[in-house]
């Protein structure tokens, strides 16, 4: 049984206009997305800005209204508005992109981390204090930091406070939306190492949303590539990076800067070649509206949006 199952998810935002401000059209932010995440796995959702990856993450969190489709968490139906609401917010937590704006500057660390605990559990002041100190230790901060304010910490430390808050209720799934994009490389390394560590320690499942393919490659077991609200390809890490099938995936992979300057020329030529192929074969890979086709399985784990043959 998959921990999280998303089936044919659709999220449309209305475009209003005209004199009466009636709905005239939709923006199809997410348009028929399906995927599953197994317990203990890290699933990477990749795409450029506007591809719908964050919207998908928010929908799982319950922060967006869903137009169509189903989300199941441990086989519980999650769609708001359909029958009774199952409260999974305790089991699903989020790590935000920017550690500078996702922590309230006027709250002390103890209040930031204890907030979710106060919402869901009734603890005495003493118990709460101990819990927060344990959490801080878990994320590698000294217990004395509880009475400090966010500005007294560095970027990496702040992101760890964000992580401590996310794991406070012992969630099963953590949605990490660009958790390291705002950080310097060395701090980024610190946070990534640390996320892998707590994943092992707490048997966590990650939905990792990022546009940085280097980071995705480092972190994720399974990857879904999104383009304009649809999946163009999904597969295991190696399938995506060493054997990309869809031209869009190829282009993304080719666009990753190569860290070895000796291969620069070669890499540029390859990228040029892929770009040309992309332009020439765009119509073969996308339908007349410029959207991806539906996914076809090519192996057990690898699915690609290819047109119907013939």
């Amino acid at each position: 049984m998959a921990l999280l199952r998303v089936e044919d998810l659709q999220i449309y935002f209305p475009i209003r206009g005209g004199i009466l401000n009636r709905k005239i059209d939709d923006v199809r932010a997410v348009d028929g997305v399906s995927f599953e995440i197994e317990q203990g796995e890290t699933y990477g959702l990749v795409g450029e800005s506007g591809s719908g990856k964050t919207t998908t993450g928010k929908a799982v969190m319950g922060l967006n209204n869903i137009t169509g489709g189903d989300i199941y968490f441990e086989d519980n139906h999650l769609n708001p508005g359909k029958g009774k609401k199952v409260d999974v917010r305790k089991d699903v937590q989020m790590i935000f992109q920017d550690p500078y704006s996702s922590l309230n500057p006027r709250k002390r660390v103890i209040d930031i981390i204890a907030e979710p605990i106060r919402n869901y559990e009734k603890l005495t002041k003493k118990q709460e204090l101990r819990r927060v100190q344990e959490l801080l230790e878990q994320v590698g901060l000294t217990p004395e930091s509880i009475y400090k304010y966010p500005h007294e910490f560095s970027g990496g430390q702040r992101q760890r406070i964000g992580v401590a808050r996310a794991i406070a209720l012992k969630p099963k799934l953590i949605i990490a939306d660009e958790p390291v994009s705002a950080l310097d490389v060395s701090v980024q390394a610190q946070v990534l190492n640390f996320m892998q560590q707590i994943q092992k320690d707490l048997n966590l499942t990650f939905l990792f949303i990022s546009h940085d393919l280097g980071v995705i490659r480092h972190m994720c077991d399974k990857i879904g590539i999104m383009y304009q609200g649809r999946f163009v390809e999904e597969g295991l890490r190696d399938e995506i990076f060493t054997d990309p099938q869809h031209i869009y995936t190829k282009r993304l992979v080719a666009a990753i800067p190569d860290i070895d300057p000796r291969r620069r020329q070669e890499h540029q030529q390859y990228r040029e070649q892929v770009k040309e192929e992309y332009q020439n074969s765009f119509n073969d890979y996308f339908n007349e509206d410029g959207l991806a086709h539906s996914l076809k399985s090519i192996t057990d784990t690898h699915r690609v949006a290819l047109p119907e043959r013939g």
Partner: protein, 339 residues
């Protein structure tokens, strides 16, 4: 490649006042850039790379700038505004990091491009200016430039805005282009396009480029030479291949090993211990990187670290590189106990 120096920075020191005292954010750096060359400035935030760029452009407000900035042999450090205005946006121009804040939200994109033309090419008629502006938009790869010309920045995506910034920067065919994190806010495919564009411009105009970034992948793709900055100083400078294949300074080596690389293993990434010291608390004496490699013995550092030329064109600061090794397991735990 011609060998005349386009830009030569000699002992530049840029200090900011905090309270009663001045603190140097850029502390005695010397650099040069030739025509048709990309020099990359690399470092974490707070290392002084942007402060260096702003010093070249003379954009600092109330900073004390000492030393020389020779542009084509002429010292432009502390040039009065009237003279600097003639250079800025004309012979030297800058691509800013954040395309959302660098553009005026109340002005159509086309007019913002025309601004630099009005300032520096006063003999153009308004018709010529518009034609030229549209041509620029074409050059930077903007589709339907006639339409975009009359649009406001908020109507465009991040990648498009960044291209407008680039169009403004190259409008007067600058000899020196300073690109401060030009692709940090962008998606990879657009990043690749923008980098191609900068490279093309460099080749076409024979300009020099100072590329400021913390993304080592971008450096490997773009740079001819690389200067690594830490705490206001250059700690290593070399041509790009040497720097990536045989990095010497502990900071350079640490940075390179903290990047999740293409091999995509589950190995732990290297973490540099501690944090970049803030301007006020910069260690001014001895090796500035010392606190971040606490497992190394104090005796490996120089008392007054200098840049040593280890091979032609390859300079490294301090002697600690000769003995440097990454921490063993027990050393790492010990060091973590301290922090």
């Amino acid at each position: 490649m011609s060998d005349t120096l386009l830009l030569e920075i000699k002992n530049l020191k840029t200090s900011f006042r905090i309270g009663e005292e001045y603190y140097a954010a850029v502390d005695n750096i010397s650099l040069d850039v030739r025509h048709n060359e990309v020099l990359a400035l690399v470092g974490e935030s707070g290392s002084g790379k942007s402060a260096t760029a702003f010093s070249i452009m003379n954009l600092h407000n109330r900073a004390k700038i000492e030393g020389q900035i020779l542009f084509n042999g002429r010292d432009i450090a502390n040039l009065p505004p009237s003279k600097m205005n003639k250079l800025r946006g004309n012979e030297i121009s800058m691509i800013f990091q954040d395309p959302l804040t660098a553009l005026n939200p109340l002005m159509e994109c086309g007019r913002q491009i025309e601004e630099v033309l009005i300032l520096h090419k006063s003999n153009m008629s308004s018709k010529q200016r518009k034609a030229y502006g549209i041509d620029l938009l074409n050059q930077v790869g903007i589709p339907r430039p006639e339409r975009i010309y009359d649009q406001f920045p908020h109507e465009l995506s991040g990648g498009m805005r960044q291209r407008i910034i680039i169009a403004i920067a190259i409008a007067n065919k600058p000899e020196l282009l300073i690109a401060d994190e030009p692709t940090t806010a962008l998606d990879v495919t657009i990043q690749a396009q923008i980098l191609d564009l900068i490279r093309e411009l460099k080749n076409d105009l024979n300009s020099g480029v100072v590329l400021i970034t913390h993304d080592l992948g971008v450096v490997a793709e773009m740079a001819d030479r690389v200067a690594v900055m830490y705490a206001g100083q250059i700690v290593e400078i070399a041509d790009v291949e040497t720097l990536f294949i045989q990095p010497l300074h502990p900071y350079t080596r640490s940075l390179l090993s903290s990047v999740p690389n293409a091999e995509g293993t589950d190995d732990k990434l290297h973490v540099i211990q501690g944090i970049v010291p803030s301007l006020k608390h910069l260690p001014r004496e001895g090796c500035r990187f010392k606190d971040r490699i606490p497992w190394m013995d104090d005796s490996v550092h120089e008392e007054h670290p200098e840049l040593h030329e280890v091979s032609p064109g390859h300079f490294v600061r301090c002697t600690c590189y000769q003995h440097f090794h990454f921490p063993e397991q027990n050393e790492e735990e010990q060091a973590h106990g301290i922090t």
